[in-house]
């Protein structure tokens, strides 16, 4: 066991502002500052500021970078235009999910087009290892792991864009959803992306690590009258759960294929060949073995990962992958994989919470959808 934890460039800020820190994917990360519910509500009603520097940031340069990534990602990359961002999966040959990622096509200030892959912190080392032999087939593609030299900050919530207005050039503020741009903030280099993991509108910024504390403070200052709060990984988890977004290690792992996970939209199977594409096409032709659903539970107790889902005859038909009390819905919610025959919206099921049998209803995902879409 290695107790040596990595830290982000904002680590000392978190510590000096009362954050409760804990290990996550090898990093010492802020779990909460004021409290999960307060940070969750701030993000839904105003804005939350998240340090997500633990996420892996991998850069691919060279004229065939798109071909390499097109081979590695379930989502088509060859037709990506500068400024586009896509959600994709990376799968093994069997179609098991290795990671879920965002891929961006960007243009550097000198006019060079390159690709950026943002991977989960917990899968970072695995993905880098997995990419290496494929890189050998593309000797002209230059790979650079930018994780340590940069920081990543998410501003999320209905006021996120307003708050960033004084800090970013107008062409970054006016970015469309799932668009990204290499730009600057206060004349320092910055990648801005209109993406997030909370179900709210907002931006994700990648800056040099030495600039991170100032950018963080500037955003907090700009948002102080608009209700911004620093928010930890605790609120990030409840927010993404309400938004029905999968989390690797919970809804996704190597034993789950994209179709079970309800992520068929992220697999472009026609006219292309990528790692796992044959297996996924086979699975598509047959029926899936389990399906991801959303559950609303009675009472106040949350079903956590691993809790059994039961039918009315108390037969086990699946298991919970994520669960929490939902601050927005004021009831416990969960995502689970269950037998596809049982996966109809409205179906009345039960969940075993450490021996207590609690009624649960299948509801459509996401649990929460924002109304202020732009």
């Amino acid at each position: 066991m290695s107790p040596q934890l990595a830290s982000t460039p904002l680590h000392s800020w978190h510590q000096s502002h009362g954050a409760r820190m804990a290990e996550f994917a090898g990093y010492e990360m802020p779990i909460q500052y004021e409290g999960i519910v307060a940070e969750h509500v701030a993000t839904r009603t105003a804005a939350g500021l998240f340090d997500i520097s633990h996420m892996g940031r991998l850069r691919f340069d060279g004229p065939r970078a798109d071909q390499l990534l097109d081979h590695l990602l379930t989502r088509r990359v060859m037709d990506m235009q500068v400024g586009q961002v896509r959600y994709s999966l990376m799968c093994n040959e069997e179609g098991g999910i290795l990671d879920d990622v965002l891929v961006s096509c960007l243009e550097s200030p000198s006019g060079k087009v390159y690709f950026l892959l943002v991977v989960n912190a917990g899968n970072h080392a695995k993905i880098v290892q997995w990419i290496k032999p494929h890189l050998a087939d593309f000797p002209d593609v230059e790979f650079f792991d930018a994780t340590e030299s940069t920081a990543m900050i998410a501003v999320q919530g209905p006021q996120a864009i307003e708050i960033c207005k004084p800090l970013l050039p107008s062409n970054a503020i006016s970015l469309g959803y799932y668009k990204a741009k290499v730009t600057d903030q206060m004349s320092k280099p910055c990648i801005v992306s209109r993406t997030g993991y909370t179900g709210e509108d907002g931006l994700e910024l990648i800056v040099r690590k030495e600039d991170a504390p100032r950018v963080w403070e500037n955003i907090l200052m700009a948002g102080r009258n608009l209700g911004i709060k620093p928010a930890g990984l605790g609120a990030r988890d409840t927010l993404r759960l309400e938004a029905g977004m999968p989390l690797y290690g919970h809804e996704l792992d190597e034993s789950i294929n994209p179709l079970q996970a309800g992520l068929g939209f992220a697999c472009n199977l026609s006219d292309r060949d990528f790692v796992g594409s044959k297996s996924i096409a086979d699975i598509k032709a047959n029926s899936p073995v389990a399906t991801r659903v959303g559950l609303k539970l009675a009472g106040k107790r949350a079903a956590r990962q691993g809790a059994s889902v039961l039918d009315h005859d108390s037969r086990v038909i699946g298991a919970v992958t994520s669960g929490s009390f939902s601050p927005t819905l004021d009831c416990p919610i969960a995502m689970a994989y269950i037998h596809p025959d049982m996966a109809q919206s409205g179906a009345e099921l039960q969940v075993d919470i450490r021996g207590s049998i609690v009624p649960a209803t299948i509801v459509p995902l996401p649990f929460y959808k924002r109304t202020n879409t732009k």
Binding site: Q32, I36, G234, K300, A302, F325
Partner: protein
């Protein structure tokens, strides 16, 4: 009744006991409540339930996680603060009085000697 924390005895696991005769009133400490934050549920003990010092008698759940509660004393539950389950915010404002959880008729009051004084407990929390 106004209970001062100095009058209580504490478990390392953050429960407290207030003793009057052979009955111990049991709750969880302000430190525990602050650590848990955002409480949403408490599985209360039941009158008549036998509890054992150091063993789980119920659980408290926050948005983040579920935590067991361990009894500071051995005996039988004679009274439960049932309204607390629907007013968990009481634990934030008044954990040592209105926030009591159960009263236990003790079968072995000598166990109290193993519990921490307020001073020793504070020291533990400062270190943890």
């Amino acid at each position: 009744m106004t209970i001062k924390p100095e009058q209580l005895r504490f478990c390392e696991s953050h429960e407290w006991a207030y003793v009057q005769g052979d009955v111990a009133t049991v709750g969880i400490s302000a430190f525990a409540v602050a650590e848990l934050t955002d409480l949403v549920f408490m599985a209360m003990p039941k009158v008549g339930q036998k509890v054992v010092a150091g063993q789980e008698f119920g659980e408290v759940e926050s948005v983040k996680a579920v935590s067991p509660m361990y009894s500071p004393v051995t005996g039988e539950v004679v009274e439960v603060n049932d309204p607390l389950a629907n007013q968990l915010e009481t634990l934030n404002s008044d954990p040592y009085d209105a926030g009591w959880i159960m009263k236990v008729k003790m079968s072995d009051p000598s166990e109290l000697e193993k519990l921490l004084t307020w001073e020793a407990y504070q020291k533990q929390c400062g270190q943890s």
